[in-house]
Subunit: 214 residues, 2 copies
């Protein structure tokens, strides 16, 4: 699907310049949006010529696609690491709380909230980027959760008939409130570490009232 | 807060033209975004001169503020109508399901999803509009719900200590999945009427597993 991610052209180009362009582009896109971003500014900030920018990335669009997909993938990988580590534990409340807190901590950063706003604002122009964010973000998390919940139900640590539905309920109990608030109220509304811990604990508590072992 | 909503200047101007400008502006802003919207096109589509547009709305910004606040207010009013109508009923499951379905049906329209994407994409430029959408949208709904839940708990139809927390859980169990999917996957992912009914029923079921009368 994301064939456009391969549009960066990098034979005989400097990896250091490549990274400098990516860092500058991330800053400018997140701050100014897609339409507002000037390739001149990306070149100036990365201390290379505009020709060099175009040698590394064929177009503003190709550069934007690269920024969004790499940021999205890094966040998904960071959540996954924690997914299976504790799944063998018998203490399902602690496991779910740790997982929820990891997911909250990884996702609720100013950079990822800015990325999410930018991608949502550009759905009409770049539907495939928004789809990638959805699939590598909530959809991926929910399918991992569903598989874990099914195992926990077999071990009678959870009570459920429909693992995918339970995973959706868990995911949105944990993520919806802080993410949707940050979407509209901006990065200053991102909860602090202790607030995220408390939110994770409350979300898991209500989830287990519904789905805990009886 | 929304003092900018009063920037429309309409003495001795035609209400019919005023409405034509608003209708055209809604279409163009939702389709092209804030930066992409041309006041020339708004004028052409509303069949008035550009001077007439500026006689009614001092600036592109004033016109945008008017579109966002009026669409947001109309949606909030439509949900409120249903809020108290059934709150006296003893059948709490039916009441919650009807309320959830009304809220889903009002909010999950292509127009309101486009508005929400546009406002999220413009948080940096128009933080006060996004704040208004949050306050008249989810925040308003949750505070109405909290008051209702407190009454239902006093009548022992719900079991809860913290009405605001229960209202947040209810709101996001109902709204998060379809709204967040529509944000990223576009208007084609808005569920059909029967799908929304089923989603309302499942959301209420899990809410009552956690918060129902014991």
């Amino acid at each position: 699907m994301m064939a456009t991610t391969t549009t960066s052209i990098a034979p005989r180009t400097s990896p250091r310049k490549h990274q400098a362009i990516l860092d500058a582009a991330e800053l400018v896109f997140l701050r100014d949006g897609y339409l507002g971003t000037s390739m001149d500014e990306v070149a100036t900030r990365s201390r290379v010529s505009k020709q060099t920018v175009y040698k590394h990335f064929a177009s503003k669009e190709a550069l934007f696609v690269e920024i969004v997909t790499s940021m999205t993938s890094r966040a998904a990988d960071a959540v996954d690491v924690n997914m299976w580590a504790e799944a063998a534990a018998d203490d399902v409340r602690t496991y779910l709380r740790d997982y929820a807190l990891t997911q909250l901590t990884v996702v609720l950063t100013p950079r990822l909230m800015q990325l999410r706003r930018l991608v949502i604002g550009e759905v009409a122009r770049f539907p495939e980027l928004a789809r990638a964010l959805y699939e590598r973000g909530p959809k991926h998390a929910m399918s991992q959760l569903a598989a874990t919940f099914e195992q926990l139900a077999e071990r009678r640590l959870l009570t459920l008939d429909d693992p995918a539905l339970a995973a959706s309920h868990f995911n949105w109990l944990v993520m919806a409130e802080p993410v949707n608030r940050a979407m509209l109220l901006g990065d200053d509304s991102i909860p602090s570490g202790p607030e995220l811990s408390r939110h994770a604990e409350q979300s898991v508590a209500v989830f287990l009232m519904a789905y805990g072992a009886h």
